[in-house]
Structure formats: structure tokens, C-alpha cells
Symmetry: C2
Subunit: 278 residues, 2 copies
């Protein structure tokens, strides 16, 4: 699955990101970086305040040069969206009007669906200070808003672009719980290996008088086995644990003798408790 996802997310396709009158070149650069992180490339700028191209934008883009180089500047929002079929407006506050309001997940699913159907789509992001005007929003088909903390709802423009780009990427995954790489595959231990561990530990402890008093031994073994089997060991993990036991069992500390008095199980653990936990 990881391989399949990797191939798919190399695609540099998806909605255009349209910044309406962005003010700071740094923000445009961070937008470009966020887009590149999630495979988007098409950046459109409506009247960037400090002009274009922008050295500050390029520096802040952290090598997302392909997005910066491909950015196109427009005089009006109408021109910037002229070739698109479907447009979302991002906004943090409720607007009067007839536009449906969608969550980022719903919006990304809709954009993916329309993308697959061959439509050209875009997402509008507003000015740093004031967001999108009602006139800007009126040009969009639907509104998307973020589930932010109402007491601290103002998202930086690059953060807003990041969240939509991230949801766009996620909408390409068959399973949002999938990961692109995983820990090295390890075979789960067999019961034979687990019982070998039990025997190893119990023999080494028995040799030290750990199971004391003798009439409690059965219960102590039961608790110990519960602890050792609480989580499913892999075969390599069993090997590591047995290596630890062997080292403790067979060798003294360097320059020290093994202790003369046996360490008993009833001295440092509550052996009447349930070691398997809750």
C-alpha cells in the first residue's frame, strides 16, 4: 500500500491556490512550501501588494521554486478564476448569503471528485488582515471553514493553505489510517518461543530462591507469565529479552561478586497483586 500511495502522491495536480491581495512575500513563500509538501503546484496571485516576483517569497519557499516560478499574477479575482469550473472560498466567519459551508474534509472530497471528473478547481484565500470580502466570496461556489478554537480563530494564510493542501493529499488515500512507511516487518513470536522465555526466566529465578515461600510459587509463576505475555512479542524481541536474562543469569557485574543473599520475589513485588494489570 505504501508503494501505491507514493506513486499517487508524486502527481503534481489538483486545485489552484488563489491568494487574493496577499501582503507579505514571506507568506506567499510559505504558501508555496505548504503546497509543495502536499503535491500542489498551481499558485495564482491577485494583486500582490509588494509586487512580483519577490525575493522574500522565494527565500521563504525553502526550495519550492517550481511553485514560485509557476505563479501567475492577475489584476482581478474574476480573471484569476475565469478558466475554473468550481471554486471554494475559505473563511473563518459566517457570511450572509446562500453559499453552502463545508468542512475541510468535505471540501477536499468534493475537489477530488471534481478533479477526477475533469473539472478545474480552485481555493480562494483572503488578505492577511481582513480575509476575503463578501464580493470575493460571492464569486465562489461554496465556503470552506476550519474547525478552529473559537477563542483563537485566526489562521495564518500559509497555515490555512497547508490544511487544505493536507486534506487534498489525504483525499487521495484509500485509508486515512494508512502510513507511507512502517517499522520493519517482524514475525510475531510463536507460543513455543514464548514458553521458552518463561522456562528460561523461571529457571534462572528458581536458582536464586526467588520463588519464596514455596507454597506461593504457583501463583508467582502465574503472575510472572501474565506480565511476560501481556503484550505480543515478536521473535526478535524474544531474542533480545532472552539475551538480557542470560546476561543477568550468567555473569556478575564487572569487579563485583554476585550478591550472597538471594533476591526473593516476595521482597520487592506484591506477588498477591494481579501482575497482568487491568
Amino acid at each position: 500500500m505504501a508503494g501505491t500511495n507514493s506513486e499517487r502522491i508524486m502527481l503534481a495536480e489538483g486545485p489552484a491556490i488563489i491568494l487574493v491581495e496577499p501582503q507579505l512575500g514571506e507568506n506567499i513563500g510559505m504558501v508555496a512550501r505548504a503546497m509543495a509538501n502536499f503535491g500542489l503546484v498551481e499558485l495564482r496571485l491577485v494583486k500582490p501588494r509588494d509586487g512580483w516576483p519577490s525575493d522574500k517569497a522565494r527565500a521563504a519557499a525553502s526550495k519550492a521554486d517550481h511553485v514560485i516560478d509557476g505563479a501567475i499574477v492577475y489584476d482581478t479575482l474574476e480573471e484569476a478564476i475565469a478558466d475554473l469550473n468550481f471554486v471554494y472560498a475559505t473563511t473563518a466567519r459566517s457570511r450572509d448569503g446562500f453559499k453552502p459551508v463545508r468542512s475541510p474534509v468535505t471540501a477536499a472530497e468534493t475537489l477530488r471528485h471534481r478533479f477526477k471528473a475533469g473539472e478545474k478547481t480552485g481555493i480562494l484565500f483572503g488578505r492577511e488582515k481582513s480575509g476575503l470580502s463578501n464580493e470575493d466570496v460571492a464569486l465562489a461556489d461554496e465556503i470552506v471553514t476550519f474547525p478552529v478554537n473559537p477563542a483563537f480563530a485566526s489562521l495564518n494564510i500559509a497555515q490555512a493553505v497547508l490544511l487544505m493542501s493536507y486534506e487534498w493529499m489525504k483525499s487521495s488515500l484509500d485509508d486515512v489510517h494508512a502510513v507511507p512507511f512502517d517499522a520493519p516487518e517482524q514475525p510475531m513470536a510463536t507460543k513455543d518461543e514464548l514458553i521458552g522465555l518463561f522456562d528460561h526466566v523461571e529457571e534462572a529465578l528458581d536458582a536464586r530462591g526467588y520463588f519464596h515461600p514455596p507454597h506461593k510459587k504457583a501463583r508467582m509463576v502465574e503472575n510472572l507469565r501474565a506480565v511476560l505475555s501481556r503484550r505480543a512479542f515478536t521473535t526478535p524481541e524474544i531474542h533480545v529479552v532472552r539475551g538480557v536474562i542470560s546476561s543477568l543469569d550468567r555473569f556478575s557485574r564487572r569487579g563485583q561478586r554476585a550478591p550472597a543473599v538471594p533476591v526473593r520475589g516476595d521482597e520487592d513485588t506484591d506477588t498477591d497483586g494481579d501482575a497482568s494489570g487491568e
Copy 2:
């Protein structure tokens, strides 16, 4: 539902965000802002390079002062996580070892589950240049990684914190498709209102000779009704549309006469086409 969600997301609770040897105060500030956006407050800093407190951090936090003021500095990662029960390490690349790797969605669900069970949790984020070391990762329970574009995988630290904070917030929602506010509730139009619109439009057009030639009228009306009913109008929308029709029907352009020659339906539309679209 919006009300319920708003109450819940006012809670300033959740995993601690732990930055391991962050370098730039600006980044710490942007992290604080991202946390505040999604209701997280507990920021821990392990050996911030440029010291603490930081004016640059405060400025970049854009008024997330409660997060900045509450930040605690530690000398070691071990101390920073000492009181926690469960810790995620964020990393963009595969690591050797036994740690399970989770998606942000899975990680947020796990954190929410453990939070509800009364556990204290945290998420580790690495240095700007080099991320988390293998020794850092070894102190975590599991790894979380982002579904980024493999060709441009490096996330800014504040962007990474934003994504995890966002998923944390989403994990509190019963439905990721829910939105905190919606367009004003409008009653859907009744069929009676829709037929009233049909009659209004058709009468106004008929008075102008639009339905020409007469033997095509039935088909033209059919197509026109398909267009008008393609999307479900609300009652206020019907009122707006009927107001438009009335204005066009009853008044001339200011200073102009109504045109002498009737505009016919067959002159500017393909009335044999299927106006209902595909």
C-alpha cells in the same frame, strides 16, 4: 451541532507539545499560535538554542500569549516527558526499530482515547535542521508521520505542529464533515412555489412571442422547466428569481424603450437540446 462543538473545543486540554532543541524563536511563536488555533496550551521546550523567554517567539505567536507564558523549559527530553504516560515522536523518515508508525488521524484518535482514559500524553517535534535523533525517538511509544509529497517532504516545525493540533481538534468532532456554522437556514421551496415560478416565467415569455414556432412550444417549456428545477431552490431564492423576472417583464431600461422586435427562444438557445444537462 455547531453549539455543541463550540463548547467542546473551548476546552484547553490535550497532549503537550514538546519541541526538542528548537532553534528559532519565530518558529516557537508560530508553534504557539498553531496550538492556540486548535485549543492546545501545554508547550514544553527542551534546550531552546536562543534561550527563553524570547521576544521573537512572543511576536510570532500573534497573541497566543497564554501558550507562550505557560511554556516550560527543560534540560533534557527525559525530564520533559517524565510525567507523561504516552508519547508520539513525529518523523518524516523511516527509522530502524520496533516502534509502530501511525498516520496523523490514527495518532489523534489514540491521543483522544488516552486523554479520555485520564492519561497524560505528548507529541515530540525535532530540530529545524535535523529533526529528532534516534535517541529521542527511542523515548517515544509510537511514531507519527505525515502523508507528504515524497519529492518535497520537509515540513516546517510549526506546520507539523499545526497538522497534529488540527487532527487533535478533529478527533473531538462526532463527524469530520460537520461545520461550526452554516449558511442561514432556509426552507426549501414547495412544488407550489416552483410551479408559480414556471407560470410566471412562461407567461412573461409568451407575451413576447418567445415560444416560436408554436409547435415547438411544449418541448421548449419542458426544457425551460428542466433548467429551472435542476437545482432545488429555497423559498427566498424563488422570491429573488421572481423579482428578477418581474423587473425584466414590467419595466424598460431607463431612458430606453422596450425592443420592438420580440426575442424568440429559438434565436439564442438550442431548444432542441436537453437543457437539463447530464
